[in-house]
Symmetry: C2
Subunit: 278 residues, 2 copies
């Protein structure tokens, strides 16, 4: 035993709480004692200690490095509630973005993608997986599906520089017009974790987007996974109750503000934002 037994009947929680206090007394990047040492100090078995550490790794407080040890995470992430986020100014830009093509092939659409893009399941699709980098650090993985007929002669290099939508317009005469995009929270699987450099089962954002051109024809279906520890979405909501104008057709519901908490006119300008590292 170390200090008081703590009220928790579950050892794992006691261990986790102890570790959280330990982490708070350390600086980011500091090493913490080895698993076996902690086991002895706390009087628990290694599986028990590991399961406690697992939580903190998933939460983003600790980092494990095989053969080296465990360390306090560099940037204090979402951790609990009440994150001590400092600034409130909206950081305007978002670092320098780059892309790295991981895969570039032609595949058959298949049932799901074919349905999305309104093409036959046997239609040829240019499939591109690319890593998005911010200041040379991996930020997201993007999986694009574009009907091959729309982009004849597309080269991998075309996907690593410039604006893809500009490229579509200038080279292929395709003018993107609108997109429907969904965002939901998820956790990383092994492949994603490896590619964007976070532990497995870390929080992440899953985007899914279907883009159409001015004629209403689907031109791209994208899904992408953004790391949750370095990416967040900041919106500026106009709630003004000045004039009940523009009742924008469909049900209006700001994420985070359930219906019944908003009645009047709303507008929203959304901007992405990279959380600056430590």
């Amino acid at each position: 035993m170390v200090s008081e037994p703590s009220r928790s009947a579950v050892k794992r929680e006691r261990v986790r709480d102890y570790l959280m206090e330990l982490v708070e007394s350390c600086a980011p990047g500091d090493p913490i004692p080895s698993e076996r040492t902690l086991c002895e100090q706390l009087g628990v078995s290694r599986p028990t200690l590991r399961s406690a550490v697992d939580e903190l790794v998933t939460t983003g407080l600790l980092v494990r490095e095989h053969g080296r040890g465990m360390f306090v995470a560099r940037a204090k992430i979402t951790q609990e509630l009440a994150p001590a986020r400092d600034a409130y100014r909206l950081p305007q830009a978002s670092g320098s973005w780059a892309s790295k093509v991981l895969e570039f092939t032609t595949v058959q659409a298949g049932a799901r993608v074919g349905r999305r893009l309104h093409v036959s399941p046997a239609a040829e699709i240019t499939y591109i997986a690319r890593l998005r980098l911010v200041d040379d650090e991996p930020m997201a993985i993007e999986y694009l599906h574009v009907p091959a007929a729309l982009v004849p002669g597309l080269q991998p290099g075309d996907m690593e520089s410039g604006d893809f939508y500009d490229f579509l317009r200038e080279r292929h005469g395709v003018r993107v017009h609108e997109a429907v995009q969904s965002i939901e929270p998820t956790v990383t699987n092994e492949e994603e974790a490896r590619l964007i450099g976070v532990p497995v089962l870390s929080p992440a954002l899953l985007f899914e987007r279907l883009t159409k051109d001015t004629t209403g024809r689907p031109v791209e279906y994208v899904h992408s996974v953004y790391r949750g520890d370095r990416y967040r979405i900041v919106s500026r909501l106009a709630l003004g109750d000045t004039a009940p104008a523009t009742p924008l057709s469909a049900a209006q519901h700001h994420p985070g503000i359930p219906p019944g908490d908003l009645a009047s006119r709303r507008e929203v300008m959304t901007t992405g934002d990279v959380q600056p590292g430590s």
Copy 2:
């Protein structure tokens, strides 16, 4: 052994893959064999099997019920990539929302909240924790901080019906004007998991919002946690390259569309959406 040994050297992965196939052959809500049974079938120890199941529970494919068994999750959630989401029509409304006040007290602002609300750290704050329900199922937890001076005589019941912003205007003459809101992915801790009825460490969305009135005075600071398995954000993005109008001051970056992939004018209408259950 069951079928082929699968190329993976890690037993956990083999077990997980086996379970994923098993789940795909089942209907939502179906029970699956007990842990001990699966151990015998697959020739692995129970801790190994449990750790494989843990992944699938975190991912949202399986549900455990103490003393009863394991079941295929009701709504097929984010699971892997490529979720087989069916419809593409934007479900307009979002079920019937209700609220249940969990806590209603007056506290001192403290450093963090005081800074947000531009009040002294010793200022009195009305603190409200409430559960948001959709069709009687818990959907989110909301933690509100409002300067007590703004809402004298506020009652818990006032927070369970009607629009809080309407209430502010009609009862206290406070006219909300705009808000800055951030959204990021997170995972649930024990308390959150218990309150919204999901396992610990499930994916969730963390909202943080600061609302100001027409005079620029902060009136509420809210953070809320939305369950990730039943909530997603759907946006309709206008990408039209018709006219490069309204260059809306700040850097414009749609979440999910990194800079360098967008040049022209954009608008966005965001709408929240409840994923219909099975």
